[in-house]
């Protein structure tokens, strides 16, 4: 847990661009809410090929996969309810490549739509939060007594070690 926190702090304090971190959060969330399949592999390929922050991606992927244990069932039911549309069903039936991506499965379709909708807003929000952290919080945090104490702790040693 401490290692994980140290890694996150390291990323936030690194020179990585806020957009790289923002997209890592958005794509990690996307991969996490999808049931594992070809779509997940495509997202991983995109993450590998582009200079998206891998640490942030993996952490967000893990966290959102955990959250899906709670939200998968309502999302599945919601998709089943709203996907009973003749046009959509015909489109999915006629397009084998979409079936290859398992978009005719309720949870995959629901998660894909949710992921696409959230991708850009979450990336922008992530970027903004990183920028806000770096400009307003990072320097103040350094001056806190708590930070000073932490610097003397095992966490700081780990942080230094990772640097």
């Amino acid at each position: 847990m401490l290692t994980l926190l140290a890694k996150v702090l390291k990323v936030l304090n690194s020179q990585a661009s806020p957009w790289q971190i923002g997209f890592a959060i958005a794509l990690g969330l996307f991969a996490g809410i999808l049931p594992f399949g070809l779509l997940t592999l495509i997202i991983i390929l995109v993450v590998c090929l582009l200079t998206i922050n891998l640490t942030t991606f993996i952490v967000t992927w893990g966290l959102s996969s955990g959250l899906m244990l709670l939200f998968a069932s309502p999302l599945e039911r919601l998709t089943w309810q709203y996907a009973q549309n003749d046009g959509l069903l015909n489109f999915l039936a006629n397009t084998e490549s979409l079936q290859l991506l398992h978009l005719h499965h309720t949870l995959t379709l629901g998660a894909f739509v949710l992921g696409v909708v959230l991708l850009l807003p979450v990336a922008w929000l992530g970027k903004t939060l990183v920028q806000q952290y770096r400009s307003h919080i990072m320097t103040s945090v350094e001056k806190w007594k708590l930070t000073q104490m932490l610097k003397a702790s095992k966490l700081f040693a780990l942080y230094e070690k990772l640097n």
Binding site: L50, T51, E76, Q84, A93, Q99, H102, H104, H105, L107
Partner: protein, 582 residues
């Protein structure tokens, strides 16, 4: 923005993933199968190992056991090994199409090493017959039974009473409108006065003729009233007679119903065969429910039920496939399967084709057949049938079984238990399962049976009688819900066994039957109590009306004729006198 080592990272990731899948897919599938099967059958499911083979894509399952929820020391079903070869392309699309499935060592009802856990108790059987109660002849009180039977006789008797009252009132009102004897005498006096009076001239004749016509019109109106009253009387007679017939029919039907409720129609108690084998058959039939629960999510009616009508919680699938208008494959489809079944002390092979839950997509029903001969414990067994889920789940099974050596078995419970040490079974029958409704007919012949019992004197007497029989024929019929089947097991020996066993009890039943008949007869007599009075009243009314009617007819015809004659005579006399004068 492009990571130079991106492809390398991705390839390493995929390789690691494949390695993980190869190592962990088997355990993951095993856990998934256990979870799904336990949810469906409500009892512990054990699987020793599940292995995934990548080339060709196949899955192997070792030693699966499904605990019998009703008898946790035994499995409802188990097998040694199963191997399924999957088609790759449909699997990539998310459909499970299995070309060949083989199952070895399938066993039904095998004993478990340890007791299995039960998560859902199977449904309570319908109205099971309790042998102890029957042998004690614990019959319900006649009044209680009549009160419980929702009889028609009291209602019909009440209806008859109300009808009679209404008809009586109507007839009374009609009678009030009819001419009284005094009225008729008045008419008669007036007519007599007119007809016997002297007619002085033509004007007098015209006046009296007019007065006579007036009286005639009044009498005709009275006559019409009489006709209407007669018609009403006829209707009343018909309605009352119909009500009396209905009351008698209701009383007869009620007696039959009460006899059925008291289970005394055939002169004995419930069939002995029902008492002995009803529970055993009921438990077997209830196991079919697991099949229904498995396929329930695929039955279209279940998917389209309005939320208010669903009485049971709908099973939720983790990731359903949307109902595409023309899906390329069913969600799962086993094209061909061979099952090696351990039966009758040997092995038999069941052949199955097109196992799926979406038969409309492949335009074929699942078919299965089994034909075995000369096994150590079984002379011959032939079974075939089909299974399809279209608008409803429909299963048809036919079987013919010859010479099955029975394993020792225990029938009944506690003091009322019987042991069957040996026996030979022949059976033929058919079964239809439509959704969760079962209809089954079977004929079973038990030969060379060796029963024993350490129970009470009745049971010992029963075992003696059963052991004397060359063969025990049984007709088994099952209808109703699978979870609560109504099972009827009857044998031509029931009457014989019942008579022998229940000699003393039969006298009690005869007395009870007579008491029931008396009670119902009394209800019928109460209902018919006023019938004689009403009939007498109606007859009296009828006779009165006829008398009045004939008096009016007499007055109208005879008196008018006299008046005319008198006028004619007078005119004639006048003319004669005039001619004499001339």
């Amino acid at each position: 923005m492009i990571r130079k080592s991106g492809w390398l990272v991705f390839i390493v990731f995929i390789a690691a993933l494949l390695a993980l899948v190869y190592v962990f897919a088997g355990p993951a599938i095993r856990l998934g199968m256990i979870y799904s099967l336990e949810k469906a059958v409500g009892a512990e499911v054990n699987i020793d190992k599940v292995a995934l083979e990548l080339a060709p894509l196949a899955i192997r399952i070792n030693h699966l056991q499904i605990t019998d929820a009703a008898n946790p020391s035994h499995n409802s079903l188990s097998f040694g090994h199963a191997h399924a070869a999957l088609e790759v392309w449909p699997a990539l699309l998310g459909y499970y199409v299995v070309n060949d499935l083989s199952v070895d060592g399938l066993e039904y009802g095998a004993e478990r090493k340890n007791f299995g856990k039960v998560y859902r108790i199977p449904g309570e059987d319908g109205e099971k017959v309790d042998i102890a109660k029957l042998l004690q002849v614990d019959l319900p009180d006649a009044n209680e039974l009549i009160a419980r039977a929702n009889l028609q006789t009291p209602a019909k008797a009440e209806a008859l009473k109300q009808l009679a009252t209404a008809e009586q009132q109507q007839l009374k009102a009609l009678k009030d409108n009819l001419p009284t004897k005094e009225h008729l005498a008045q008419y008669q006096t007036e007519i007599k006065a007119l007809t016997e009076s002297k007619i002085s001239n033509a004007a007098d004749l015209a006046t009296k003729a007019g007065q006579l016509q007036q009286l005639k019109d009044q009498l005709k109106a009275e006559q019409d009233k009489l006709a209407s009253a007669k018609q009403q009387l006829e209707q009343s007679k018909t309605a009352l007679s119909q009500a009396v017939d209905e009351l008698k029919a209701a009383s007869k039907a009620d007696y039959a119903k009460v006899q059925q409720l008291a289970n005394i129609k055939e002169g004995g108690l419930a069939g002995i065969s029902q008492i002995l084998l009803g529970d055993v058959w009921g438990e077997r039939i209830a196991q079919l429910e697991s099949l229904y629960l498995l396929v329930k999510p695929y039955i279209p009616e279940q998917l389209n039920l309005p939320s208010g009508e669903a009485t049971e919680p709908e099973p939720v699938l983790p990731n359903r496939i949307l109902p595409l208008p023309h899906a390329p494959y069913p969600d799962f489809w086993i094209k061909s399967a061979k099952v090696n079944w351990l039966i009758g002390g040997g092995q038999a092979t069941i052949a199955l084709q097109d196992i799926t839950a979406q038969h409309a997509l492949i335009n074929a029903a699942t078919k299965f057949s089994l034909d075995v001969k000369q096994l150590p414990q079984l002379a011959a067994f032939k079974l075939d049938g089909d299974f399809a889920i279209l608008q409803k789940m429909v299963t048809n099974v036919n079987w013919q079984l010859d010479g099955l050596n029975l394993q020792p078995m225990h029938l009944g419970k506690g003091d009322n238990a019987l042991d069957l040490a040996t026996g030979l079974i022949n059976s033929s029958g058919k079964l239809n399962l439509t959704n969760n409704q079962i209809a089954q007919q079977a004929s079973v012949i038990l030969k060379a049976a060796d029963f024993s019992s350490s129970g009470n004197k009745y049971l010992q007497q029963l075992t003696g009688l059963l052991n004397q029989q060359q063969q025990i024929p049984l007709n088994i019929a099952t209808t109703g819900l699978i979870s609560q089947p109504e099972i009827s097991i009857r044998s031509s020996l029931d009457q014989l066994l019942g008579d022998a066993l229940l000699g003393e009890a039969k006298q009690k039943i005869a007395a009870y039957q007579s008491e029931l008949q008396t009670k119902l007869n009394s209800q019928l007599q109460t209902g018919l109590a006023g019938q004689q009075d009403w009939a007498a009243l109606l007859t009296q009314q009828d006779s009165d009306l006829s008398e009045v009617s004939s008096r009016i007819e007499e007055m109208l015809s005879a008196k008018l004729a006299d008046a005319k004659d008198q006028v004619k005579d007078r005119l004639k006399d006048k003319l004669m006198k005039k001619s004499d004068d001339n």
